[in-house]
């Protein structure tokens, strides 16, 4: 299957999920230097938001803001200057549950805040308010393919529009009764600052293409289970290859028979080792 290869630079990473508190410690876990201990995701308050918006922010907003900011700070960039791609398999599950409960009750009056928080692009809207970024924000959904969907959109933006772009891929859990048909058990998010290749801030270069091979799996049983359980965690083979700091090729899950091959070429092996 012939497909064009698209190369971009990676300049910063944000990570938050069960047993992952940020990229720095996550990198050590994924490189095998410290053990992976599954623990419930802790979402920090979104201090960049004004108080009113901070009170209204749900889990997806807190997660998206935390990982996006971590990646951009790591890249030493100003978030107000960066276009973004938000990709998630669903919206705020607790908010959705509350709306559906109200609409099934006698009194159907839902709160205005619940309604505006129900849009899939709520995290992108809050991101704009927090960062002042007036640049384009793509907001996508690919169900279980949401990470690959976001990665493709971000990479094509960087290549075609010759601009930096920040991928913010995140998923949060649904409460029952939606959890049974959609069993995402906890929040997981990853953010990548991508740029045209050759820039000074590049950590690694990644080359993405469409393939039909089976996806890469992780050796650690708990990490592999996490990869399969939360769509945004389908990124873990890529994150592990980056953490190991060596040239590698991984295949990421995407749509049914369509997958994303990612070749990883470290540029600054020395600075990587110091971080590790």
């Amino acid at each position: 299957m012939p497909t064009r290869q698209l190369t971009v630079s990676l300049e910063g990473i944000g990570l938050l999920g069960p047993g992952f508190t940020n990229w720095l410690t996550g990198q050590a876990i994924l490189a095998g230097q410290s053990g992976y201990v599954p623990q419930a995701t802790v979402l920090p308050p979104s201090t960049a938001l004004p108080p009113a918006e901070r009170r209204r922010a749900g889990k997806a907003v807190k997660l998206a803001l935390a990982i996006g900011q971590e990646a951009i700070v790591a890249a030493g960039l100003d978030p107000s200057t960066l276009p973004t791609v938000f990709s998630s398999s669903g919206g705020d599950g607790y908010n959705c549950h509350a709306i559906c409960e109200t609409l099934a009750s006698v009194d159907r009056r839902i709160s205005p805040t619940r309604f505006h928080n129900s849009v899939h692009n709520a995290p992108a809207g809050y991101w704009g308010i927090a960062t002042g970024a007036m640049l384009p924000a793509s907001v996508l959904c690919g169900f279980d393919a949401s990470f690959g969907t976001g990665l493709l959109e971000t990479v094509t933006s960087v290549v075609v529009d010759n601009t930096r772009s920040v991928l913010i891929a995140y998923d949060t859990d649904y409460p029952e009764p939606l959890r049974s048909p959609r069993p995402i058990f906890d929040a997981f998010g990853v953010a990548l600052v991508l740029a045209p290749p050759g820039g000074k801030g590049s950590l690694v270069e990644i080359t993405v293409s469409l393939v039909t091979e089976p996806p890469s799996r992780l050796n650690d049983e708990n990490l592999e289970s996490l990869r399969q359980s939360i769509p945004a965690a389908r990124s873990l083979p890529l994150l592990q290859a980056i953490a190991l700091g060596k040239s590698a090729r991984v295949v990421l899950d995407y749509l049914d028979t369509l997958r994303l091959a990612v070749e990883i070429a470290p540029l600054l092996e020395k600075s990587f080792e110091t971080v590790l």
């Binding site: 692009n121 996508l140 959904c141 690919g142 029952e176 369509l258």
Partner: protein, 397 residues
């Protein structure tokens, strides 16, 4: 940007199934809005409901996608030979070289709303026949469409509220330009549900009369539903003179508020400027603007200011939402098709239901339709969360 051919487009909304009925309604300035009797909704408002959705049956093998939104999608893609055109593209380029890019705000959430009325009394569980991935999830409509056509390329649902199906043109263009695909099924599908009806009601943004865009007495939106589809491809060397090209796309964010637009329309202005800039056009090159024009006091005021700032008071413009209602995540797609029809037919549509223009907005707002040959048009779509997108279309010649 390199222009792309926008072909085989079709529209299904409350003003008609397919292009013939849609054009007839536009020519006769007919509104499809009716008083709301949808489902068990007890709100005093008007809606743009598509008749006959309940009679649609999902094809064998795709029953898991059965919901109002995908039934509407199937109705839409059955019009105007669209399905045959996708088949032809798949045969020409290969099934893995055709992508699917569809906008929706609420997809099939109506299915979940209904399922919540049938929860198990003892356990609270949803009924066993509820299928989350094929109905509620935003991706369901892109997944359904991809499977309907047995395509094997990338697929995505864009869901940035009311800009969703304008922004899919941007995603599709980037993927074509990057060389990953040769053709893109683009469009938007959104269907009536209780979340949006009661939600907009909670924000006091629903009108209790048919919506009146840019009217001095406008008082809110009328919600509609629609399915719009089209194909984007690289243009061949020889184009028919009435072929439609996508010339520009501009996207921006308000960075202002979750449910109110920037009061001076700054985000809208940035999106329109970006669309003109990437198209290599100046404001005077635009012959008609299909406004977002939802008929809420603040949206129309902000958009009016932005249009005046960029175009001054001469460029003919108006909103077609008095005819179709605000079809939310499908609005960008429906209005892209209306723009394409306008270019082909030399028709500047009228603004149905608008009676007396807001005197504070100093733009050339058309109340009545005009027949005139036009070459380039701009379409605006703005959404909650401050998501803005403007598209520029032109005739090939």
């Amino acid at each position: 940007m390199n222009p792309l051919l926008f072909s085989n487009f079709t529209a299904t909304s409350c003003i008609g199934l397919g292009l013939g009925q849609t054009l007839d309604a536009l020519c006769h300035q007919r509104s499809g809005l009716r008083r709301c009797h949808f489902e068990t909704v007890d709100l005093d408002t008007w809606i743009g409901e598509v008749q006959g959705i309940d009679d649609v049956r999902m094809p064998p093998g795709l029953r898991e996608f059965d919901c109002r939104n995908n039934r509407l999608a199937q109705m839409g893609l059955a019009q105007d030979g669209f399905a045959a055109a996708v088949e032809e593209a798949a045969a020409r380029f290969g099934r893995h070289r055709v992508g699917v890019f569809l906008g929706t705000s609420t997809a099939g959430i109506l299915q979940t709303e209904l399922a919540y009325r049938r929860r198990d009394i003892a356990t609270g569980a949803l009924p066993a026949d509820f299928v989350y991935h094929g109905t509620h999830n935003q991706f369901s409509v892109a997944d359904f469409t991809r499977r309907f056509f047995r395509l094997a390329g990338p697929a995505v649902a864009a869901s940035s509220a009311c800009s969703s199906s304008a922004k899919v043109f941007g995603s599709a263009r980037r993927m074509i330009e990057a060389g990953l695909i040769d053709a893109a099924v683009v469009g938007g599908i959104d269907s009536l549900c209780l979340t949006t009806l009661y939600g907009f009601n909670s924000l006091e943004l629903l009108s209790n009369q048919p919506c009146r865009p840019f009217d001095a007495e406008r008082d809110g939106i009328s919600i509609g539903e629609a399915a719009a589809f089209g194909l984007l491809t690289r243009p061949p060397e020889n184009l028919d003179s009435d072929a439609i090209l996508l010339l520009g796309i501009g996207e921006s964010s308000d960075a202002y508020h979750m449910s109110s637009p920037h009061p001076e329309g700054l985000g809208a202005l940035l999106a329109m400027q970006a669309a003109l800039s990437i198209a290599g056009l100046a404001s005077e090159d635009i012959d008609y603007i299909n406004l977002h024009g939802t008929a809420t006091p603040s949206n129309d005021a902000a958009e009016g200011m932005a249009v005046f700032a960029l175009f001054g008071g001469d460029t003919p413009c108006n909103s077609t939402k008095g005819a179709t209602g605000h079809t939310l995540g499908a609005a960008g797609g429906i209005e892209a098709v209306i723009c394409a029809l306008s270019l082909q037919q030399g028709l500047l549509p009228g603004s149905v239901n608008t009676r007396s223009l807001d005197p504070d907005l100093d733009i050339n707002y058309l109340l009545d339709k005009r027949q005139r040959r036009i070459s380039r048009v701009l379409s605006n779509s703005f959404g909650f969360g401050g998501s803005n997108c403007s598209l520029v279309f032109g005739r090939a010649n």
